[in-house]
């Protein structure tokens, strides 16, 4: 499997390219929009945000996506929410991937008691409903910030990838080049980092990309259920919650965050699937 071939296949996958385009747009929106917008995501605009009939104004020139229930600009809050979602999802994924890879490689490579103990930990962890576990930890922490959500999601999201990485490590550790490295007297850390890790990187990358989408959903669910980041910080899940009771009068307050969550999850899944196809050895020309 060559890296160039994989990259080429990603570039040839229309869905992966579309996903990457969406992600790029999302990142630009999250970073740049709050800078260029004339609205502040924290401040209600009682002068312009209130419709003549009462309630928030709808989409228009002043408020492109309308105002929220207390008359803040929906679009700038969506952009700010994107920052939170992307920060939490990407950093939690990074954390869970590192932990998952370390546990998976250690378990697969060393085997024996190490494997037994680590895999039982994984079994126990997987036996808990993920969201329930995250909510319990979130509730125990009291006031939650993006950092606590990130740590909670990161430290509970590695279980599945540890399993997969372990399986892949078991395949690789018996390969001739690993046996040869050991015979040549290479140190274990060097073997793990130099030979095992590059060969299990494919699944880790694919799982990580798909995990970002899951983390976005998990963060939104936590906020939706009220166990996430406290207001007034805008999060997509909380915006969804705010919008649902008001859907008859101000449907944009529900549709905007729903579309953001849907769009970003689809984008990361498209890229993840494109990467999986590209990195899968069974794909024609897949190496």
């Amino acid at each position: 499997m060559s890296d160039e071939g994989a990259l080429l296949r990603v570039r040839q996958s229309r869905s992966a390219v579309a996903g990457l385009g969406l992600i790029a747009a999302l990142v630009v929106f999250a970073i740049a929009f709050p800078w260029v917008s004339t609205h502040d995501p924290w401040t209600s605009d009682f002068a312009r945000g209130v419709a003549p009939s009462g309630g928030p104004v709808g989409p228009g020139r002043d408020f492109l996506l309308g105002a929220d229930r207390i008359f803040r600009d929906e679009l700038v809050r969506l952009a700010y929410g994107a920052r939170i979602s992307l920060f939490v999802a990407l950093s939690a994924t990074l954390l869970s991937s590192v932990v998952g890879a370390a546990v998976g490689i250690a378990s697969g490579y060393f085997g024996g008691k190490t494997d037994f103990v680590l895999m039982r930990v994984v079994d126990v962890g997987l036996a808990f409903p993920f969201l329930l576990l995250v909510m319990a930890i979130g509730a125990a922490l009291g006031r939650t910030t993006p950092w606590t959500i990130m740590v909670v999601l990161g430290l509970t999201g590695w279980l599945g990838s540890a399993r997969v990485v372990r399986a892949k490590t078991l395949q690789v550790r018996g390969a001739d080049f690993v046996v040869a490295s050991r015979a040549l007297g290479q140190t274990t850390p060097r073997i793990l980092l130099g030979h095992i890790l590059p060969n299990v990187a494919g699944p880790i990358i694919v799982l990580a990309t798909l995990s970002v989408a899951q983390m976005i959903v998990a963060e939104s669910v936590l906020s939706y259920l009220g166990a996430g980041i406290a207001p007034p910080t805008p999060t997509w899940g909380h915006m969804l919650l705010e919008g649902q009771d008001y859907v008859a009068v101000a449907p944009w307050t529900l549709l905007a965050p729903a579309a953001a969550i849907l769009g970003s999850v689809v984008a990361f899944n498209l890229v993840g699937e494109g990467l999986r196809d590209a990195l899968d050895p069974r794909t024609p020309d897949g190496g």
């Binding site: 401040t43 309630g55 207390i70 009220g226 009771d245 859907v247 101000a250 549709l255």
Partner: protein, 575 residues
Amino acid sequence: MRRLAPLVAGALVACGTPFAPPIAAEHPTDATPRRGGTLHLASFADIRALDPAVASDDLAATPIEALFAGLVDYDASAQIVPDLARRFEVSPDGLVYRFFLREGVRFHDGSELLAADVKRSIERALHPTTPNPAASLYDTIAGFEAFTGGKAEHLDGVAVEGRYVVAIRLKETDARFLSVLALHPLRPVCPSAGDRYDDAWVPCGAGPYRLPPGGWDRGRSLLLTRHEGYFRPGLPHLDALQWTFSMNRAAELYAFEDGDLDLTHDLGDADLQALRADPRWAPFLSPEPDRTIDGEVMNTEIPPFDRVEVRRAVAAAIDREHYRAYKPESLSPASQALPPAVPGYDPHFDGQRYDYAAALAHMAKAGYPYDPATGQGGYPGVIPYYLVRQGSTEYTAQILQQELAKIGLRLELHLVSWPTFLSLAYTRHAVAMASPGWAMDYPDPSDFFEALFSSKAIRGEQSTNTAFFKDPHLDDLIERARHELDPGRRMALFTEANHVVCDEAPWAFTVTQRFEDVAQPYVRGFRPHPVWTFQTADTWLDRPPRARREALGLLWGGRGVPDRWLASVRGGRGW
């Protein structure tokens, strides 16, 4: 994406479309009440108790009023009228209240109501083993302390003076005694209740409806059926009242539109707005009186709110119109301690009002000058603010946070569950600021001033004085008002108390909330009650048989499903 477009457009259209049409009365011009039928009601909440001696939740008021009649009661205009008592008289010194019972009144179990039952019921409700949260309302009855302290077998102040005569003697004059006696806790209960509270007792009283065996499925539903021996001839008109509890608000509204529920009270602002704008529905909305007061409660024992100038700054910094804008259909700005439904409310009194310059001046006087141009100064600490997750305060707290930031007070919002909030907001030294609100128990200013601002109401836990506010002058005014029997002089004392509270600002009063009921047109003789939420005693149904059949359409598709589908196809509302 193209295929998604019609769906999205359909959803957008459906969101803004009107309600299903009202179901008309069968004989709209005939005002003669018809007997029979079941009135269906629902709530998103649940009731905890139906025993008048221990119930305290707002939702239980209507069923308890239906089950238990009292010596006196509130009529439709909140005036106190004799009910089980044929008449009553008050001694010239205001210390003895003598009640002459109607003869031949039957409890639900068939036994006759006698003066001894009244005494037994009062002692049962005030017995030290009864978890009665409202017992202290009756502390002016002679012998109260000895009886509730377990030192006396009987309550001295309640005397049986004949088969149908009972007298209640007070140890001191109490101008609100009849007002609190008309509430539910002391209402006569059947002999089966005995003289001690027992959670297993099946509620049984002398009210117009009775609880049939198995009628209360806790957490789910409650069925009350007509008490055939009710002392008012011909009443009630209805066969039964049926409540469904823990129902999602949206589901409740759908069920109401479909005619599965006959009236509803849990209307969100958006629904209210849509109903008011709909000429078919507008005539069937009935506003309840404004009985609640909301405010930002500042714990006067915790910095920075131990300084009166900071509290005054908060009261002046809040633009009440900003709160109202969040729910314009049901909120009104508040500027004093009493809501409009309570006697003593003065529509011309602006005790607290938005004045930004004054707010900054108060902050400077408090020693925390703040410069809005630079954002420098203000109170250096962060003030934790506790609020209930998914309640109205989630929004008003964010507005408050913005308003107070403009005078240099920084709030940090802590969302907690309802039980956590209850355990924190009513506990001493626990919370610097919160907004627990207060709803009227009885239409008298003492219900607000004694509970919220009297130092007597301060407790370590479950304190109703959540600002933990102590002011000797105010205490004196409240105490004098309690004993003042002249209505004019009494109201003058409360007017002064209102001024003191607005100036000392343990609360920054923000809004009053008005609830509104909507009933199907075939529900006749219904109106909101100023104290008991719903008035069901003379309600009757004039429902056309066709509507009944339509309601039965749910049998083949779940609650109202076929109608809703048809309505959405025809352009009706469907979220």
